[in-house]
């Protein structure tokens, strides 16, 4: 490609990027629609009689049940039911829990903040610590620093996260008594404000530690791998040839290039924030979406599971989109396509 000039104007670049983003957004919406279809039909296959299941064991006259069925449109053809489902979902009317008989949405909403707090903090910590570990491991590759970091994280990554939680809980909660053994607050306490927040953080320590340890391995591995790839590149030799210090070469030239896939990974992992701690929340009785899922399994509380699945999927789809867009914004080589 001699002589030709691929320097596009800033304007054209922005236009190309906008087109790219639009395409990705449409793609995400399409995926969400598939999820809704899947969600509806899968559960409809099993829930042959939702009204009956809802009122199982209760003495409700058959006529009332029939009226309810009609009002829920269960006598209509499946296509109409699906459209009804879409309409209801858009209005956040996700049905009624079999177990608590409350609105699924209400149950879910209450469980979101504890999960966001716990998994959000753990996600940030594991990303930061894991990435730092990966940078050190790669820059000092094959030294004892690298090997201990790599082996250590590999061990944590190879164990069931909830088992690690069990060990933490027994060791630090039961045996040593340093931390509470479950829940988000002390039962029966009426603390408010700052005292309540501190109590919640105190309860959050062990589950957050568990999740952070379990997931930093992924960041360490990806960062290390990515940085090793970059370290083989000529422009690092050039940077050294210019007289830059080793640390500057690493931080200014190597790491920014190596971080691109890590950023994508982080954004994607934030999508899994909501669904990432199902088993760990169960171990620590943390009142979040994970525990709600575990409780719903025991029913099986199908409306709850349906609602939770929809929420989890939507979160992942959304954050995958953010990840895509962030990457295309950070890497100047991505223009259109």
């Amino acid at each position: 490609m001699s002589g030709s000039d691929r320097l596009t104007s800033e304007h054209a670049r922005r236009r190309g990027r906008r087109r790219l983003i639009l395409r990705k957004v449409l793609g995400s919406i399409l995926t969400l629609i598939f999820v809704l279809v899947f969600n509806f039909f899968l559960f409809r296959v099993v829930q042959t009689d939702p009204i009956g299941s809802l009122f199982r064991g209760r003495n409700v006259p058959a006529e009332t049940l029939e009226n309810l069925r009609t009002s829920f449109g269960l006598d209509k053809p499946i296509g109409t039911q699906f459209l009804f489902y879409l309409k209801e979902t858009a209005q956040l009317n996700l049905g009624i829990s079999y177990q608590t008989r409350q609105s699924v949405w209400d149950e879910i909403v209450v469980a979101i903040p504890p999960t966001v707090a716990l998994v959000g903090v753990s996600a940030v910590l594991s990303a930061v610590i894991g990435t730092l570990g990966g940078v050190i491991a790669a820059w000092r590759r094959n030294t004892w620093k690298d090997q201990s970091i790599t082996s250590g994280t590999m061990v944590f990554y190879s164990m069931p996260d909830f088992w690690l939680g069990m060990i933490m809980l027994v060791l630090f909660g039961v045996v040593l008594g340093w931390f509470p053994v479950g829940g988000m607050t002390d039962a029966g306490s009426n603390e408010t404000g700052l005292a309540l927040l501190l109590d919640e953080l105190y309860h959050m320590f062990l589950p957050a530690l568990t999740l952070t340890l379990a997931y930093l391995g992924e960041y360490t591995l990806v960062t290390r791998s990515s940085l090793l790839d970059v370290m083989g590149e000529d422009y690092l030799t050039v940077a050294r040839a210019k007289g830059l210090r080793d640390v500057v070469v690493r931080n200014r030239h190597a790491v920014p290039n190596a971080l691109l896939p890590v950023v994508t990974l982080t954004a994607i992992n934030f999508g899994f924030v909501l669904s990432g701690a199902i088993a760990v929340e169960t171990v620590f009785s943390w009142p979040g979406l994970g525990k709600a899922t575990a409780d719903a399994i025991r029913g099986p509380d199908l409306p709850m599971l349906q609602g939770l699945f929809l929420l989890f999927s939507a979160a992942v789809i959304f954050f995958n989109l953010i990840a895509d867009i962030t990457y295309s914004w950070l890497d100047p080589r991505v223009e259109e396509i």
Binding site: R6, D234, V238, H253
Partner: protein
């Protein structure tokens, strides 16, 4: 005729890898006078890029480097890390090959050119560095807007010019050009060569030009050194070596490039058969003997040293 700007004495470079040691450079000595230009030619694997990188100590830390490299009066191999960093880019700068990989993909080319100015404080401020960058870009024939471009947005020829501008950022005394015209088409090659020639003259640059393309060197350099299997096998004034080679390898290399306009060179079969030897697995005696049309029995026994083959010329062949 003072001290040469660059003086290399008995340089040995050995890579140590898991499979064993690989001697990439086996006893090279050369000098370049201030303002002079030396062309270093050879096929891939002969050690010329290794040699180039070693001049600024850019080889991986496990590499064993012995001998002496004196640049602008300083002993490169024994400099402290701080001293080495000060010398890099100011005493000697490299124009690397493979321009796309030699540039940081997520940084604008302007920033990459300005960077050494700020590190070595040859520019007083960011603005001064920016001004000088644009000046340099202009000197290599690139317009001002290119400064904010990313490497992938430029063509191969433009990237090569960026590398040249970048190498000149701190006004180096020695410019090492490592295959600067490889992978460029002929038109662009000619432009780059002309540019290097101009720059050499106006800034009194000392030039070390490395390539596998012999015809390019005769245009750009005063003297020529031919490398084979980690050693210099012939040395002398450029035209002399090209027209009237003493070493059979040089002769083959020179003949491998048909001369435009000379129909006979097109017809005569030339070009060297076989492959260059792998550095870890050299043939006995003279490493060229398997491919040499003039090889004799004595060539398998002992590796010939450089011997005088004419005024200011030497070649490593027993036939000299």
């Amino acid at each position: 005729m003072g001290e040469p700007l660059l003086s290399v004495r008995n340089l040995h470079i050995t890579y140590h890898r898991q499979g064993g040691s690989v001697p990439a450079v086996r006893g090279v000595s050369l000098d370049i006078e201030k303002g002079g230009s030396l062309g270093l030619a050879g096929e891939s694997g002969c050690g010329k890029s290794t040699l180039a990188n070693s001049l600024l100590r850019l080889l991986p830390p496990e590499t064993e480097v012995t001998g002496e490299i004196t640049l602008d009066g300083k002993d490169v191999l024994t400099l402290s890390p701080g001293g080495l960093r000060a010398v890099r880019w100011t005493s000697g700068a490299i124009v690397f090959q493979g321009a796309l990989h030699a540039l940081n993909p997520v940084q604008t080319v302007g920033d990459q050119i300005a960077e050494p100015m700020l590190v070595h404080e040859t520019a007083d401020s960011q603005d001064a560095a920016r001004a000088r960058t644009i000046e340099l870009l202009g000197r290599v024939g690139l317009a001002r807007p290119r400064a904010t471009a990313y490497p992938h947005q430029l063509s191969g020829g433009q990237r090569q010019r960026v590398l040249i501008a970048m190498a000149l950022a701190c006004d180096p005394l020695l410019l090492i050009a490592d295959e600067p015209t490889t992978a460029l088409d002929l038109m662009v090659q000619a432009q780059v060569l002309a540019l290097l020639d101009d720059l050499k003259q106006e800034r009194e640059l000392t030039l070390l030009f490395i390539t596998h393309d012999l015809s390019v060197l005769t245009y750009a350099c005063q003297r020529l050194a031919i490398m084979y299997a980690g050693r210099i096998v012939e040395e002398g004034p450029a035209w002399g070596v090209f027209e009237n080679a003493s070493h059979p390898y040089t002769r083959a290399l020179a003949a491998a490039f048909p001369t435009i306009g000379d129909r006979s060179s097109r017809m005569a079969p030339s070009g060297l058969g076989g492959d260059p030897p792998t550095p870890g697995n050299l043939p006995s005696g003279c490493p060229f003997h398997p491919r040499c049309p003039l090889a004799e029995d004595g060539c398998l026994v002992e590796e010939p040293s450089l011997r005088v083959s004419g005024p200011g010329r030497s070649a490593a062949c027993i036939l000299v």
